[in-house]
Structures are given as C-alpha cells and as structure tokens.
C-alpha cells in the first residue's frame, strides 16, 4: 500500500540563508579566478596558504595509536585528564581556585559547545538574567543565546571613528544593564575586531561589573595564539579571578592546537567554594546528557597528551609562537603596504594595534562586497579579514584592494 499523503509534511520549510561566516568559504571554492584570496573563516594557514596540522598533534596521535587505547564512552563531563590540564592551562596550576578545587570544568564541543552548555545553564538557573554581548561580536554568539533562550543585549565596543575601542560606551552600557547580567567578554584577540582592552581598561571593566553584581563570562578561543604566550593571553581572566569574581570561561583548542575539526574545548565555572563547584558541575552534566550524552574522546586525548607531557608542551609553545609570529609579520607587512600605497594620509596603524587572527578593516558591507566582486577577496560582510589566511606575498595585492574599496566605494 502506498502512502496516501502526497504533499510533504515539510513543504512549508523554507530555505535557510547560508551561514555568513562558513558560507564565505563555500563562495570562495566556487570562484575560479587565480587571484582569489580567502580571508573568511578563521583557520590558520601557512605562508603557502595551506592548512596546518601541528607537529605535536601528529606526535600525540601516533602515541595514542601505539598505546592502543580503547574507545569506551567518556564520562558525561569528559576526559578527566583533559579537564585537569585545561583548567590549569587557563588559570595557572598554582592558582588558588585550582588548589581549592573551586573550578567546575566540563569538556565541551569546542568553543561553541561550551558556550551553549553555559547558556543552557544560565537559562535554567538564572531565568531572569540577560547576557550582554559586545557590538560587534562573533556572529554565532547571538544564535547560541537565542537557541538557549537567553535574552541578550549589546554593549558598545567598536568605535568606527578610531577603529578602536569605544571604552566609555562599553562601560556605560555595562553599567546601565540590570544587575546580575552575564557579561560576555573575549579573553583576548576579540573576534571580529582584534581590539582588546588595555590592562588598565580591564581593571575598570572589572570595577563596573563588580559594582553591578554582574557575572563575567569569558570566551577564550585564542589563548597563546594572540600574543604567542599562553600566560600573557590569559591575563584578563586571571585578573578577574584574582579579584574574587565567580565567573564562567568557555575555552577552545581549535586555533591554538589546530584541532578545529576535533571539536575540543571546555566550560569552566569558577565558584566561591568547592561545594558550589561540585553542584554546578552536576547540573552542567544534566544539560550535556540530553544533548549528546558524553563528548568525543579523540581531541581530548590529544590535548591531554600534549599539555600533560613537558616535552610536547614545550614543543607546542614553540609552534604556537611560530603561528602567532607569522600573523604578526603579516600585519606588519600589510600595514607597511597600506601606509606606503595610500596617499590620502589615512592612519592605518590600527592594523598593527589590533591583535589575533582577525582585523576589522573598517570597510562596510558595500565595500566588502567590492573586495569580493572586483578583487576576488573573500571576507565577511562586516569588514573582517582573517590574517591567518594571508601570506606575505599577497599583502601588496590586499593593500591595493583595501585602498581601492575604502576610497572608491560608498
């Protein structure tokens, strides 16, 4: 008997728009022009513009296969060895929050998955609370809070006039928000702008958060990748911890260990007592179980092996310095080309001041489209370029394109 229903139950489902960030790479692949450049998604490329698997990662995987480890389910909270090293990496092994057992750490599906678990936790335990996110921020932050049903509003962040931080606006908006809001802060290498507060500014941000009894919620996707130093890049988090805040930190190893596709990260919750930490951890597990039961083992073992072994850890630090160093070199070259070629006297130094994988060029949508349409340079519509996708040899071409788009397109 054939089915009598001839119309699909899903007939009313509309075509969703392509993801603004991931969709860029799709468009790039379709372009046949030789000069094309992909400055869309933030994945590191070598000078030859090839993807890069870290040597320490290859070594760790070889060790893992030789050891013949099993593939049993991890506990809901993930690999214990991973959870231990990831918290120590973030806070410092000798930090009092670690020593006192006050951090609840759950392995999560990279940064996104960790943010989503935290958002689900906020929705359940702080149903009246709001999230505050920077304007602009990573495009997926809004989607995460929306799907987790956590209301959010924005605080000013990017100042187009200076192509820098709108610090006064930021502080004012955080102050104006209802008490007890969750303030989403980028630990370092702000995405998409590359603009980070100075240490003095971090102190003042901490002041206003404290005054309003807000809860800091850090997104740390670039520890070690921004400056080349793991400790330096953890400065902001450690500052807040030292000031006694309870806070949340979502971590990712996509960039700094090049483990993008393995989906490895963690959500850490610093609590005022180890008892609170235990309770919080148990409730995070309750949210993870109906989402995916327990997290994937492979990436967690790689991290545990690399971070847990002194030799591999040192080797990792060196490779990370190379990656961060290459990006700094490209920034410098791009800045030099822009300054030399642009006769208008525009100050391009923001390229040097910004940090991390991304640069907010200050180009608006029409100008960004022009970059693609005329110059075959693929970037996101908000004017963000990924320097990780730029080689020294292409800096000149990019500079020409930016200068042209900036001055000739309105």
């Amino acid at each position: 008997m054939t089915v009598s229903v001839n119309v699909s139950r899903f007939e009313g489902v509309t075509m969703a728009p392509p993801d603004p960030i991931l969709g860029v790479s799709e468009a790039f692949r379709a372009d046949t022009n030789d000069l094309k450049l992909n400055l869309g998604v933030g994945a590191y490329r070598t000078e030859e513009l090839q993807p890069y698997v870290l040597n320490v990662v290859k070594k760790a995987e070889k060790l893992m296969l030789e050891r013949g480890e099993n593939k049993e389910y991890l506990p809901i909270e993930g690999l214990a060895a991973f959870n231990k090293v990831t918290a120590e990496l973030l806070f410092g092994a000798d930090n009092s929050v670690i020593q006192e057992g006050r951090v609840a750490t759950i392995q999560g599906l990279s940064g996104t998955g960790s943010l989503r678990l935290a958002a689900a936790f906020i929705q359940r335990y702080f149903p009246d609370a709001k999230a505050l996110i920077s304007s602009p921020t990573w495009g997926n932050h809004k989607n995460i809070f929306n799907d987790a049903r956590v209301p959010w509003s924005e605080y000013r962040y990017f100042d187009p006039r200076t192509v820098g931080l709108d610090f006064d606006g930021m502080v004012a908006d955080i102050k104006a928000a209802p008490d007890g809001s969750f303030v989403l802060l980028h630990g370092c290498a702000h995405n998409p702008t590359g603009i980070d507060p100075t240490p003095e500014q971090w102190e003042k941000i901490a002041d206003v958060i404290q005054e309003k009894n807000h809860i800091p919620f850090f997104d740390v996707a670039y520890q070690g990748f921004a400056s080349g130093s793991l400790d330096a890049d953890a400065y902001s988090i450690r500052l807040f911890v030292s000031r006694g805040f309870e806070l949340l930190v979502a971590q990712s190893y996509s960039k700094n260990l090049g483990l993008y596709a393995e989906r490895i990260g963690a959500i850490n919750v610093v609590c005022s007592s180890s008892d609170a930490g235990t309770r919080v951890k148990s409730q995070l597990k309750r949210l993870a179980r109906p989402m995916y039961s327990n997290p994937p083992v492979h990436g967690a073992r790689i991290v545990a092996n690399v971070v847990g072994d002194p030799n591999l850890f040192n080797e990792w630090k060196q490779e990370m310095e190379l990656m961060a160093g290459r990006i700094k070199n490209v920034r410098r070259r791009l800045y030099e080309n822009l300054s030399q070629k642009d006769k208008s006297g525009k100050d391009w130094s923001f390229v040097l001041k910004q940090i991390g994988m991304f640069s907010y060029t200050g180009l608006h949508k029409a100008q960004s489209d022009h970059m693609t349409d005329k110059w075959h340079i693929y970037m996101t519509k908000d004017g963000r370029i990924s320097l990780a996708g730029l080689s020294l040899s292409k800096c000149e071409y990019l500079a020409d394109a930016i200068i042209d788009s900036f001055h000739n397109v309105n």
Partner: protein, 421 residues
C-alpha cells in the same frame, strides 16, 4: 594575588548572598551511568557489571575492532589529512555511506535525492537535532515513545522542545510485546503525531515486533499520518546481519512515505567515545530535502558549529572499502554471536538450576539487553549479596557476560527469585 581595589568585596558577595550559584542543587547521578560508578567502587572479586551497554569480550574487556585500528592507521599514514572544520552537516562521504547502510544502496529515496543526512554526535545527538528540527518546523509537537524506553529519550525530546507521551510496548506478563496495547495507543494518537520506533533490539526490553507486526504498525501509522522517528543503535549488532536489522526501516521507506532516522555507530563499530552518528530525514521530494537540510544547519550551528571528524573518518574509511567493509561484517557478526551465545548459556544455566518461572524470554529477546522481569527488590538483593550491577528496572547487558560469569549470575537470579518475591 590580593586585590588592591578599594571597592574590593569579599569573594562573591553581592545580591546572591555568598555565591551566585547558591540556588544550584546537586543533581542526582545518571541512573544508567551511575551503575558503573557503583560497580567501580565495589572491591568484591566476583563483581559483574551488567549496567551500561558497551560490548565486552569473553575476557570481560572493552573491544576496539581490528578494522577500526586498521582504518585509524590508514588515516594517520595519509599525509594529506588535515583537521579543518567539517561543514556544518559533517563529512559528506560519511553521510552518503551512512544513508546507504541503513536504507539500502538501491533505495529509491536515496536515488531520488530525497534524503537529507547530517552527521551528528552519535544516537543522542541525532535524536536531539531531529527533535529540535521538528519542534521548530513540524505542526505536531508531541512525540510518542514506547513504554519502557531508553532512559535518556524523554529528556532529549523534552529539551528539544517536544512534549512527550508514551504508547504501551512491553507486556510484563508475557515478557514480550503488548501488541494490542501498542496498536490501540497509536490509533488514539492525534493525526500527524511523531512516533519513536526502535528499529531493532529494543532498549531496554530486547523485544521487537515481528515483520508481520511491523507491517501492521506501518499500515496503521500511514493511515493516521503519524510520523515515524526511528532510533537505530544496533544495526548489524542485533541479528549479526546489517540488512536484516534494517528491515523495519526499509519497509517504511519503501512505501514512499517520510520518516526520521537517528543512526549510531557506537555499538556496531565499537566507536562509543568517538560520538559518531547521523540523522537522516526522508522527504517527499529532493526540493524539500534540500530545504530541510538547510534548516538542520541552523539547529546545529548554535549547538556545536560542526561535528567531530575522527570517528566519521573511521566509518567512511571502512564503509567505502570493500575489504574493510567485509572484515567489519565478520567482526560484527562475531560480537552478535557471542551475545546470542550468552543468552543461550544463561537460559540453560537457569533451567539446570530449576529456577522457577519461564525464562525463555532470555533467548527470545534480541540485542544487547535482556529485560529479566526481576523487580527492584530482587535487583537490590542481587547487587548486595552477589555483587551484580544492573539497572533497577531489571535490565541486564548481555554484552557484559562471559561463560565464566554466567554461572554466578544464574546463582544470583535463582537466589533472588526463590528468596525474594
């Protein structure tokens, strides 16, 4: 580092009075995973873990399939392999091969491009993504799940945004299927309601409909426009034959209708911790499938962006190579056969002891689990006196038994049945 801030409060003072997390209570341990926690704590040398459904060898050890190791070595040796983000929908090869595996390579639904398949985090992730999609895009937001079912099902669907009802399934008096009850409850469901079906090897009961009964279920569901949502966690693992274990699903797809399918490779490829699975939605047309896939991406992106590559690469490597695939089917059959053997051994052991009652359900039920019919008191007794660890609903994982431990279990069941009613 002491704070030098003049405003410095004591740590975490403020409107929540002591801790921001003061109102967060300790959650209870997950009932299924909690069994292993208790087992690990027990120092007894005769303890047996029949809790969580992970395969064990005759020596009681976890097993990584040979063919999986070979695939991993191939992947490691391949210099062109990178760790770039997968697309939101996952590894394309993996998706195609997974759909073919469950629906059959010659399935018209596949040939007509009517199947939207996305890689997900094993069975759980596939169920959650499917549930979220239905909660957003389907007009009927009630899902009917069998009574009993896997403990995590109701939570997955509730958090996905669906409301959960149940249909009768297990008959404790026969320790078999309550077919009349099943048909009655599905008949009473509102038209269009979603119905969760275990494709084979029902968890926790091990009781499956016969093919005739499946056909009747199919006819009833199609006549009421009920939407099937299959959970396939044991393809090949139940009978030892991949096609046989997919028959229920293929019957539904063959009639041209729509359905959802959550597939897991945790058991049949032993990839538990790698979290490999797929969600397929069989649609009326290729155009609908394309639109459905685009909307699935919107569910996935804010959940975890894109799925993990390792497990899916292993599966794709095996499925696309004839020799590896063949080796897999042999290893898979060996696992299934060992479990069927344990069933027979346990049944024989109980008969030999003259244990009161009809224990034939042990050999009639199929898959990893046996629903013994033991009650909570009897289970508690068996744990306390015989160090047998199992879930309180009387479910035992046959995969956790060996020919050495069967006698001990038989003794425990015998004692429980004769001493405790």
């Amino acid at each position: 580092m002491a704070s030098q801030n003049p405003i410095a409060p004591s740590p975490a003072a403020g409107i929540y009075g002591g801790s921001v997390f003061a109102n967060v209570v300790q959650a209870p341990e997950d009932p299924i995973l909690g069994v292993t926690v208790a087992y690990n704590k027990d120092p007894s040398p005769v303890k047996v873990n029949l809790g969580v459904g992970a395969y064990r060898t005759e020596e009681g050890k976890p097993l990584v399939l040979n063919v999986v190791r070979r695939a991993e070595q191939l992947l490691l040796n391949d210099p062109s392999r990178v760790k770039e983000y997968l697309p939101i929908t996952g590894l394309a090869d993996f998706n195609k091969l997974s759909a073919k595996l469950i629906f059959g390579a010659d399935s018209p639904a596949i040939q007509e491009n009517r199947v939207a398949t996305v890689q997900c985090l094993s069975g759980t992730g596939s169920l959650r993504v499917g549930g979220e999609f239905l909660a957003r895009h389907y007009h009927e937001r009630t899902i009917y799940i069998p009574q009993p079912t896997w403990g995590n099902h109701p939570k997955v669907f509730t958090l996905a945004g669906l409301s959960v009802k149940s249909y009768r399934y297990y008959d404790p008096t026969t320790r078999g299927l309550n077919f009349e009850g099943l048909l009655a409850d599905l008949s009473a469901a509102p038209p269009g309601a979603i119905v969760l079906l275990h494709a084979c090897a029902h968890n926790p009961t091990g009781v499956d409909p016969t093919l005739d009964q499946w056909e009747q279920i199919r006819l009833l569901m199609r006549s009421k426009g009920l939407l099937p949502f299959f959970d396939s966690a044991y393809q090949g693992f139940a009978s030892g034959n991949l096609d046989a274990d997919a028959q229920s699903v293929r019957m539904f797809v063959a009639d041209g209708g729509e359905c959802l399918m959550a597939q897991s490779y945790a058991k049949n490829m032993g990839l538990y911790g790698e979290r490999v699975g797929a969600l397929s939605i069989v649609c009326k047309s290729a155009d609908v499938a394309t639109r459905v896939e685009s909307q699935l991406k919107l569910v996935i992106r804010p959940m975890y962006s894109n799925p993990p590559i390792h497990g899916a690469s292993i599966v794709a490597t095996i499925l696309k190579d004839r020799e590896l695939y063949h080796e897999w089917t042999i290893e898979l059959k060996a696992m299934a056969d060992r479990i069927i053997n344990m069933r027979q051994l346990l049944f024989d052991a109980l008969r030999a002891r003259g244990t009161p009652g009809d224990w034939s359900h042990i050999i009639k039920q199929i898959g990893m689990f046996t629903f013994t019919g033991l009650n909570t008191e009897q289970v508690t007794f068996m744990t306390k006196e015989y160090h047998i660890y199992m879930t309180s609903d009387g479910r035992i994982s046959m995969a956790g038994l060996s020919s050495k431990t069967v006698p001990h279990l038989a003794d425990a069941i015998h004692a429980a049945v004769t001493r405790m009613k």
